[in-house]
Symmetry: C2
Subunit: 308 residues, 2 copies
């Protein structure tokens, strides 16, 4: 075999939670492609390049919103399980932290997590699994102004994530649709941080046999706060945006803890950036020329896919 | 829709760990059929009979052999996570207990666990997921002597489980092949107990929206002890069996804790039976007439599938 990669960056998965909830065909498509594509990759690595580093994307959504701190993938060393009488029951250190995913898409990533962890444990492969927050932005400096390098930008209810949807709605003079109370807290990071973190992971591969998890986010905040920031940034580029509300189409907790441990990337030198207002202004400035195109797909923005 | 089942007993899965480890085709086949068959069933229930009770089989192998007690599927209410300084970190009660499966087959069951748990949590379906130990035996009283009701009996390295393989080897005058040290501990139960437990589950369905887990086994013991009991039972039916040993073809811990909580079925009235010696004698007596058929497939018994 002539081709022996040092690393495999595996980003090729179906990425939409609402799409996976539309119906049985979409759910099957999601789990079929994501789980089996990943499983085939593990077998290919075992047979061709068992020393390579598999860098893949999970999602912060794997964890759901548990009533406790969210560690990086596993219970840290020294973790113990105590019962209600504060008696020690057993050791948990190194075990996979329980996942509570909320869509068939998020479940597909949970299944990948378990499959990759086993391939590392049993076959001695090595992998970095990145539990990524919600990425926003369309540009990194390395792209310069080359239009061929521009990223895909989705703003529909299925594939468009919340910041992209809100910015598109603002530009098109549609109300920003906050789902439910907007008190849901999520982790976010700009595209440039996401790419930088992948770079850090590749430059610092895990040990052979190690299944390493990074929680990758720059900061956490509520969806309601995101809406306010989009409205304010819109105003600064001459757009009068309004914040609307809609019943939550998803089944999810709207009041919850969100204490995420994310030190592994910081140990490798990652400094989270926080310039959401500037990023929002830049994004909306770039979107403005496409206002009519957004309006042409207006019916694709409002949520139609429900979880029930 | 005319047909509205009260319960769905779902036993239709690819059940072999070694088969799933043979190669990429077998691994894909296993996860494709098991995960997507189960996922399709969940969608069918949602659309046709959301009140029905899904009774399905998981496996004790989902848990692996953790360094702590194995609860019934979830951390019990009141469970807490403490760090190495004995400080309280958070609440774990009700969260899925971490799984450490050791084959692609066992992983497929772990993935089912997560998918079914979500269908109960989000769609309000209800399910009993039975983490079953190793079932042995070919007969329950209700079959009487009707040969058409006899169960399938596998004794090959892939689909034959340890007690069935040992009994077949004894009858065919082949050494009983203990994998590795034989110190591995597993949970076992006779077929009659397995069927009785399914009956108890059906008679006592869970609440709507409940994902209920039963750890189903009559007793736990080491593989080496199973071999000794097969040898002794063989002697009592006139067969001189010898215990052999082979390198362990699997990647698994051979020295480990195995403290399984299994109270949920006992609450419903299950009394584990323990008459392995009698069962072994009965099984080998029934197998004796087929000695030549076992010998004809002799090459299928010794382990050829390795985990590496």
């Amino acid at each position: 075999m002539q081709f022996k990669p040092d690393a495999i960056v595996y980003l090729g998965q179906m990425p939409s939670a609402p799409y996976s909830m539309k119906g049985v065909e979409e759910a099957i498509y999601t789990q079929h492609d994501n789980i089996l594509g990943n499983l085939t990759t593990l077998w290919a690595m075992k047979e061709v390049c068992p020393d390579a580093h598999l860098l893949k994307l999970g999602t912060m959504g794997e964890y759901g919103t548990p009533d406790c701190e969210i560690p990086e993938g596993k219970f840290p060393s020294g973790a113990s399980w105590f019962n209600q009488n504060t008696e020690h029951v057993g050791n948990l250190g190194g075990m996979t932290f329980p996942r509570q995913a909320g869509s068939w898409y998020h479940q597909s990533k949970v299944h990948d997590t378990h499959n990759v962890e086993m391939a590392c444990r049993i076959w001695g492969l090595r992998s970095t699994d990145v539990m990524q927050g919600i990425v926003y932005g369309t540009h990194i400096d390395e792209m310069e102004e080359d239009p061929d390098l521009r990223t895909r930008f989705d703003f529909d209810e299925c594939f468009g994530t919340v910041i992209h949807r809100f910015c598109s709605q603002a530009v098109a003079e549609l109300s920003l649709t906050v789902y439910g109370s907007g008190k849901q807290i999520r982790g976010f990071l700009p595209l440039k941080d996401s790419i930088h973190c992948l770079e850090l992971a590749l430059e610092n591969p895990p040990e052979f046999g190690e299944y390493r998890v990074f929680n990758q986010l720059a900061y956490s905040q509520s969806i309601a706060r995101v809406a306010i920031q989009v409205r304010d940034a819109a105003l600064s580029v001459g757009i009068q945006a309004t914040i609307g509300q809609t019943g939550n189409p998803r089944v999810e907790s709207e009041t919850h803890k969100y204490a995420v441990s994310c030190n592994n990337l910081k140990y490798l030198g990652y400094t989270p950036s926080y310039d959401l207002p500037t990023d929002l202004q830049a994004m909306m400035t770039k979107l403005k020329p496409y206002k009519s195109r957004i309006l042409a797909y207006r019916s694709a923005i409002d949520p139609k896919t429900t979880w029930k």
